[in-house]
C-alpha cells in the first residue's frame, strides 16, 4: 500500500454568486496517476489550480506529505492565506503544466527550462543547464535547446513546458488540459511523454478530455460535474463500466467517437 502523498479535503470555491467547487475531497497515493474528467464548467481546472494555490479556495485544505499548502496557522486559531512570496517554496514542490504552455518568449528553450532552477532552486548555472539538458532529453527535444519558443510547434512547446516543470524535481505533477489547445496531429507526441512519466511511477494529476488516454494511462479516475465528485474509482472501471447515469451520459457523448477510433 503506497503512502499518501496528497490529501485534499472539503475544497470549496466561489466566484461571486457562482459556486464552482462544492466540497471536493480525495487522496493521491505516491506514484499514482489520477485523472480528472468531466464536462466544461465542472470545476476540474479550478480544483487543480487550488492545489498549488493559483486559486484560493474559500474552504478546505490541501496537504502535501502532511504539510499544509498555501495556509499558515494563526495564533488565535484558524488559518490565513500565504502570500505569493511565502508560497514559492511550496510551489516548487508541485510542477504545473498549463493548457496554453506559457513558455517565456524572450528566453530560448534551454533558458526556459533552467531559469526556475537558477532563481528558485538554488542551483548554479552549470548545474541548472545540466539538469535542463537532461529534462529536454526526457521529452525528446534536446535538439531544440537553442531555439526560441515561437519557432516551435504547439506540441513541442508543450513538451518544453513539461520539461520546465520536471526540472523542479517536484513531488507532484499537475496537468491542466495539456492537449486541449493543440492541433490533433500534435496531441500524440505530448500524450506519449505523459505516458512515459506515468510509467516511471510519478505522482500525477491529469485534467483531460482525452478519455481513452485517461483509461489507458491513469490508475484512478474522478468524474466531476457541477462542482461535485460524482463517481470515482479505478480508471478502467469508471470508464468502461460507469455506475451512475450522469457518468454514463457524459461518457456516452464521447463514447461514439471513441468506439470509432478504438
Amino acid at each position: 500500500m503506497s503512502p499518501t502523498l496528497l490529501q485534499v479535503d472539503g475544497l470549496k470555491k466561489r466566484y461571486g454568486a457562482l459556486d464552482v467547487l462544492k466540497g471536493i475531497s480525495f487522496d493521491l497515493a505516491k506514484g499514482e496517476t489520477l485523472s480528472l474528467i468531466g464536462p466544461s464548467g465542472s470545476g476540474k481546472s479550478t480544483c487543480l489550480r487550488c492545489l498549488n494555490f493559483l486559486e484560493r479556495p474559500n474552504e478546505g485544505s490541501v496537504l502535501l506529505e502532511g504539510e499544509r499548502i498555501g495556509q499558515l496557522p494563526q495564533k488565535h486559531g484558524g488559518f490565513r492565506f500565504m502570500s505569493d512570496r511565502e508560497l514559492a517554496p511550496q510551489r516548487r514542490e508541485i510542477g504545473m503544466v498549463f493548457q496554453l504552455f506559457y513558455l517565456w518568449p524572450h528566453l530560448n528553450v534551454r533558458d526556459n527550462v533552467a531559469l526556475g532552477s537558477i532563481k528558485a532552486g538554488g542551483l548554479s548555472k552549470a548545474e541548472a543547464y545540466e539538469l535542463a539538458d537532461e529534462m529536454l532529453d526526457k521529452v525528446h527535444l534536446s535538439q531544440k535547446a537553442g531555439e526560441f519558443p515561437e519557432r516551435l510547434s504547439g506540441g513541442q512547446q508543450q513538451r518544453v513546458a513539461i520539461a520546465r516543470a520536471l526540472a523542479q524535481r517536484p513531488k507532484l505533477m499537475l496537468f491542466d488540459e495539456p492537449t486541449s489547445a493543440l492541433d490533433p496531429e500534435l496531441v500524440g507526441e505530448v500524450l506519449n511523454v505523459i505516458r512515459e512519466l506515468a510509467e516511471e511511477g510519478r505522482s500525477m494529476i491529469l485534467v483531460t478530455h482525452e478519455i481513452r488516454f485517461a483509461r489507458d494511462v491513469a490508475d484512478r479516475v474522478i468524474f466531476m460535474d457541477g462542482g461535485h465528485i460524482v463517481e470515482q474509482g479505478r480508471a478502467a472501471d469508471v470508464i468502461n463500466r460507469p455506475q451512475l447515469e450522469r457518468t454514463r451520459n457524459f461518457l456516452g457523448q464521447v463514447a461514439a467517437p471513441m468506439e470509432r477510433c478504438a
Partner: protein, 219 residues
C-alpha cells in the same frame, strides 16, 4: 561664399555649448523619467491599494494635461518664491523628468497589462517569488513591447529641452536668441540651431530603431 561659411561656423560653435546643456538636461530627465516611470508603472499594475492606484493616476493625468512650460515655471519661479531656488538646468531636469515619469508610467503600465496573466502564473508555479517573476519574466517582455514608444519619448525629450530656454537655461534656443539680437544673422542662426537638433535627434532615433531590429531578429 566663404565669409558666410565662416560666420555659419562661428554660429555653430557658439550654439554647441547649448547643445551640451541640452544633452545634459535630456540625460538627467531621461534617467529620472525611466526610474520613476518604471516604479510607478509596477506599483500601478500590481499594488492592491486602490488609493495608491488612484494617486498615481491623478499624478499622470495632471502632468500630462498641463503643458511642460507650466510645470517648469512652477518649479523654477514658483519654488523660488517659497525659498527653494534651483538652477535653470536643475529645474529643467526636474520638470522634464517629472513629466517624463508620467508619460513612461503610462507606456510601461500599458505594456505590462497587455502581458498574458499566464506568464506570471507559470513563473510563480515554478517557484519564483513575485519579485523574481517581475525581474526575469515580466519586465524583459514589457521592455520589448515598450521599446518603440521609449524611442519616440527620447527623441521628443531632446526636442523638449528647447523649452528650458524659457527659464534661461543655457541651451540651444537660449544662445540662438541672444545670437540673433547680437549678430542679426537670423536665418543662419535658426538654420544652425535646427541643424544641431537634427544632429542630436537623428542618431537617437536611428539607434533605437537599430536595437529594435536586433530584438526582433535575435530569435
Amino acid at each position: 561664399m566663404t565669409p558666410r561659411l565662416d560666420v555659419f561656423g562661428g554660429i555653430l560653435a557658439t550654439l554647441m555649448a547649448g547643445a551640451v546643456t541640452a544633452a545634459e538636461v535630456a540625460a538627467g530627465a531621461f534617467a529620472m523619467a525611466l526610474a520613476a516611470g518604471l516604479l510607478l508603472a509596477v506599483l500601478s499594475t500590481f499594488a492592491r491599494s486602490r488609493a495608491l492606484q488612484l494617486a498615481i493616476a491623478a499624478y499622470t493625468e495632471w502632468m500630462r494635461n498641463v503643458p511642460a512650460l507650466a510645470h517648469l515655471f512652477v518649479i523654477y519661479f514658483g519654488l523660488a518664491a517659497i525659498g527653494l531656488r534651483l538652477s535653470p538646468k536643475l529645474a529643467a531636469i526636474l520638470g522634464l523628468g517629472l513629466v517624463g515619469a508620467a508619460v513612461l508610467c503610462d507606456v510601461f503600465a500599458a505594456a505590462l497589462r497587455s502581458l498574458h496573466v499566464g506568464q506570471r502564473e507559470s513563473a510563480l508555479s515554478v517557484g519564483m517569488t513575485p519579485w523574481q517573476t517581475l525581474r526575469h519574466v515580466l519586465l524583459p517582455q514589457m521592455l520589448r513591447l515598450a521599446w518603440p514608444s521609449l524611442g519616440n519619448y527620447t527623441s521628443q525629450l531632446l526636442k523638449d529641452t528647447s523649452i528650458a530656454s524659457a527659464i534661461a537655461a543655457p541651451e540651444i534656443m537660449f544662445f540662438a536668441r541672444n545670437l540673433v539680437t547680437s549678430t542679426f544673422e537670423t536665418t543662419l542662426v535658426y538654420v544652425a540651431a535646427m541643424l544641431l537638433y537634427a544632429l542630436m535627434v537623428l542618431p537617437i532615433s536611428w539607434g533605437f530603431a537599430r536595437l529594435e531590429h536586433r530584438m526582433e531578429h535575435s530569435r
